[in-house]
């Protein structure tokens, strides 16, 4: 394979019902960085029906070129039409890198494409970089997050990666950016369209998934009761966070099980984790010690939670939390 034939960083722009998904904008931000490091272009692949109006916005978010495949067959995502469209684009244009959001759609599409194009795909990346040899370095968690691995795809092109939503930072929208919008005609082999969508049902999945939260305010025995958790709720609201709990408070019936962090609950890795009145039993630590930054408040200065906390406060949560809430609320008002 002549790798020099392959150029530019391509992003699959996922849209649902014509709405460009956040992860696509995040990927454009990352693609911009990678393309700048390589001295190449960012190319957005916008697939759908009646979606051309979205193209300019993608330029504002970092694309140099938007390839717009506006076809009735692409109105709603199904594997085969999308795989055919992207495979055609890749074969005709030879990108060096293809980035796809690791959503239920991206994780359906990515592997199908990688097998079709006979190239490597690295799943659920949380870090992307360019090596000195100009290869894409793809970092992802493995073994339930216990291990991180950086993967390369040295001899095959394109280098493909699905990327976890919420990990990469979108660029600020810059309406002054310029770029090219190009229409692409897709030649479908409809005999391969074998999966028929009967209906798509949106559900209010109101069960909060604490594993998705970027900031968690977690309470334990030191918080005491429902009233204590209401106090944490106010802090969480100020921070745009979710409330989670130690096992003790779930067993006590104060909090529902789907909010429990720890070995018999959920493993969480928010950017910021507040351990409020949680002593830090090993089972709890197993569920949260990989959090980005851990702030612990506990009365007992020998509590094991301080062993994993980045910042520990020996004190009474019932005094610290209301004060902290008040201060943060004042700050956010000030910033607005």
């Amino acid at each position: 394979m002549d790798k020099t034939q392959y150029k530019d960083v391509y992003v699959f722009v996922e849209q649902r019902d014509g709405v460009v998904q956040k992860v696509a904008v995040e990927l454009l931000g990352k693609a911009r960085e990678l393309a700048d490091a390589l001295g190449e272009r960012v190319v957005a692949m916008l697939l759908g029906h009646d979606i051309s109006a979205k193209a300019e916005e993608l330029i504002a978010y970092g694309a140099d070129v938007v390839l717009c495949a506006d076809e009735r067959e692409l109105a709603q995502y199904t594997t085969e039409p999308y795989a055919q469209a992207i495979a055609q684009i890749v074969r005709e244009r030879k990108p060096s890198i293809v980035l796809i959001g690791a959503t239920t759609i991206g994780r359906d599409l990515g592997p199908r494409l990688s097998a079709r194009l006979e190239t490597g795909l690295t799943a659920d990346c949380t870090g992307l970089d360019i090596s000195e040899e100009r290869d894409l370095l793809m970092t992802r968690p493995a073994f339930g997050g216990n291990l991180m691995a950086t993967i390369i795809c040295k001899e095959h092109r394109p280098q493909m990666s699905t990327v976890r939503p919420g990990v990469m930072r979108a660029k600020e929208k810059d309406a002054s950016r310029t770029g090219v919008v190009e229409k692409v005609d897709i030649h479908f082999d409809k005999s391969k369209f074998r999966v028929k969508v009967l209906e798509t049902v949106k559900e209010q999945k109101n069960k909060i998934d604490i594993t998705e939260a970027k900031v968690l305010v977690s309470g334990g025995r030191g918080v005491g009761n429902a009233e204590g958790f209401a106090m944490l709720g106010k802090l969480a609201e100020t921070l745009g966070a979710e409330v989670s709990s130690s096992r003790a408070m779930v067993d006590a019936g104060v909090m529902p099980h789907d909010r429990q962090v720890g070995q018999t609950g959920k493993t969480v890795r928010p950017d910021l984790y507040f351990a409020m009145g949680i002593s830090g039993a090993i089972q709890h630590l197993a569920g949260m010690e990989e959090s980005g930054y851990i702030v612990a408040v506990n009365k007992d200065k020998y509590a094991p939670i301080f062993g994993v906390a980045d910042l520990g406060i020996v004190g009474d949560v019932k005094k610290v939390v209301p004060l902290l809430t008040e201060r943060l609320a004042a700050l956010s008002k000030h910033n607005k």
Partner: protein
């Protein structure tokens, strides 16, 4: 109806601990289990066996100890077990793995291929769709429920982030199943007793006709460049101060680390 279920033996990652001193994974004594999503897939197959008399084959690619898991599948009710084991398969990434398994599937007769959505040791969710592509079959991923019309059509409920989708597809096809689709049955006592006398077929490179360059490490476009544990981090600073001062410290740190 003939069904092949692809299963994998994985370390129970919920049991993995980090050595606090070195920050490395402690794998000793970590039990191996049938991957949960695969077990959900096997249960769907066994339900089709209960209802329609389907014949269920389980297949795995892995080291010799994966034999245990295949016998567990037999004890749950599978009819035939195939263990793909060959040095030429070793070191495979998802693409090379899917080449090998698709090669084995080409030797079998089936109406439905089932895999788990993803394995808990890698979480890639790639092998199922890659197999489907190699075999030129339609795929349905993230399957929560499957109904069969008794003839050739499956009506499937597929999970999405914000709801679900009902789709229809004819046999033959590939589906990837979520462990939450069902509660997998236990092994029957009789099944356990019998499982150890049943035959587990061992298949090597010679049983499948796939070019050697497409298998194992050789057939893997991706390589691990480096791996690392995030490491046991040093404990941070602990302050014993008045609440007001404590709040000052917290806010200061949050400003430093985050945007508030």
């Amino acid at each position: 109806m003939k069904i092949v279920v692809c299963i994998k033996q994985v370390p129970d990652t919920t049991e993995i601990k980090l050595d606090p001193a070195t920050g490395t994974m402690i794998r000793d004594g970590v039990p191996s289990i049938m991957n949960p999503d695969d077990k959900g897939g096997l249960e769907i197959a066994l339900q089709l066996k209960d209802k329609y008399g389907a014949h269920v084959t389980v297949i795995t690619m892995g080291p010799p100890q994966a034999d245990d898991m295949l016998r567990e599948a037999l004890a749950m009710g599978a009819d035939r077990a195939i263990h793909m084991s060959d040095r030429k398969f070793a070191g495979a990434d998802t693409l090379a793995t899917s080449n090998a398994i698709a090669g084995a599937l080409r030797m079998l007769d089936f109406d439905l291929v089932i895999t788990g959505r993803q394995a808990i040791d890698g979480d890639t969710a790639q092998v199922g769709p890659q197999i489907a592509e190699h075999l030129d079959l339609p795929q349905v991923t993230y399957v929560e429920d499957l109904q069969f019309d008794g003839n050739k059509t499956f009506t499937i409920r597929k999970s999405l982030e914000d709801g679900y989708q009902m789709v229809q597809v004819d046999a033959p096809c590939v589906i990837t199943v979520l462990s939450s689709a069902n509660k997998a049955r236990y092994m029957s006592v009789r099944g356990i007793v019998e499982a150890y006398d049943r035959e587990v077929e061992v298949w090597t490179y010679d049983n499948i006709s796939v070019a050697e360059e497409k298998l194992g490490l050789k057939g893997s476009p991706t390589r691990v460049w480096k791996s690392f544990t995030k490491g046991a981090k040093a404990a941070g600073k602990v302050y014993e101060v008045e609440p007001n001062e404590a709040v000052d410290i917290i806010v200061e740190k949050l400003k430093e680390k985050f945007i508030i």
